[in-house]
């Protein structure tokens, strides 16, 4: 599997660490239920997902990867730092 790092270009999956779903962090004073949802509950759709990938063996960029978990197509990748600090 290959993922395009916005810095380094298309790279083998082995260079990345995958953290999981890309989600907006709730406000510090959000209700515990909202935090519980953020930390523990996932939709697991059969289709497109946004995930956080870390180019650990490469440039150290955190990347928002949009991919289809059925077809394995990688639809888009972007620097998380460009997404406004909500992930």
């Amino acid at each position: 599997m290959r993922v395009t790092c916005p810095n380094c270009g298309e790279r083998d999956r082995r260079e990345f660490y995958v953290k999981g779903a890309a989600l907006a962090r709730p406000a510090a004073d959000a209700a515990l239920d909202e935090w519980h949802d953020h930390v523990n509950l996932r939709d697991n759709p059969a289709g497109e997902v946004h995930e956080l990938w870390f180019h650990e063996m490469g440039c150290g960029a955190w990347i928002d990867v949009c991919r289809n978990v059925v077809s394995h197509e990688v639809i888009s990748t972007a620097w998380v730092s460009d997404l406004g600090g909500t992930r």
């Binding site: 380094c8 490469g58 440039c59």
Partner: protein, 181 residues
């Protein structure tokens, strides 16, 4: 008072030549990482140009030449090799001494590309990876920085503590490439 003796990361391990490829240790006079502060990219590049005659490198590129080179080193960071970075640059960037943190080797000769093709999952053939190009990539499970510094020459860097593994893995690949003839 005794003076402390310095040892290089590949002390006692290099150089070695197998077939047409030579692996040797490089000891840049200094290595400093430069990470520009918010909005200071252009000012830093100008200051770097003024002080050391090389601009801040673009992603996957290096500037300067042997002896004084700036290589792109990761997201928002460059590594200046060979010269002690002028202190006034601290105004524009976080400067961190990396002079002892990396083992730096030079892989040189016809077949160097084939050697790296056994260890690095990135296309480093000359048509796609030209002189002055650089990558951060995996090299046999190590985080490496690889720069083409000549037609058949690469600078390869891994963490200092992994110098022995780097030399071992490169030598193994060199021997395998050579054995094919």
């Amino acid at each position: 008072m005794a003076d402390l003796i310095s040892l290089s990361p590949c002390d006692g391990l290099l150089p070695v030549t197998i077939g047409s490829v030579t692996l040797s240790e490089d000891l840049p006079d200094a290595m400093t990482s430069l990470a520009p502060y918010a909005g200071q990219e252009k000012a830093l590049s100008a200051a770097l140009e003024a002080a050391h005659g090389m601009g801040f490198p673009a992603i996957n590129r290096s500037t300067g030449k042997a002896g004084a080179r700036a290589i792109w080193f990761s997201q928002g960071m460059a590594l200046v090799q060979g010269v002690v970075v002028a202190p006034e640059l601290t105004e524009f960037a976080a400067l961190t001494d990396q002079g002892d943190a990396w083992a730096v080797v030079r892989l040189d000769g016809d077949g160097a590309e084939d050697v790296l093709a056994r260890l690095v999952p990135v296309d480093l053939r000359r048509q796609s990876f030209k002189r002055g190009h650089t990558v951060r990539a995996e090299l046999a499970h190590m985080m490496a920085s690889i720069t083409r510094v000549g037609p058949d020459a690469f600078q390869v860097m891994v963490f200092r503590s992994m110098a022995r593994t780097l030399v071992h893995d490169l030598k193994t690949a060199m021997a395998a490439v050579h054995a094919r003839g």
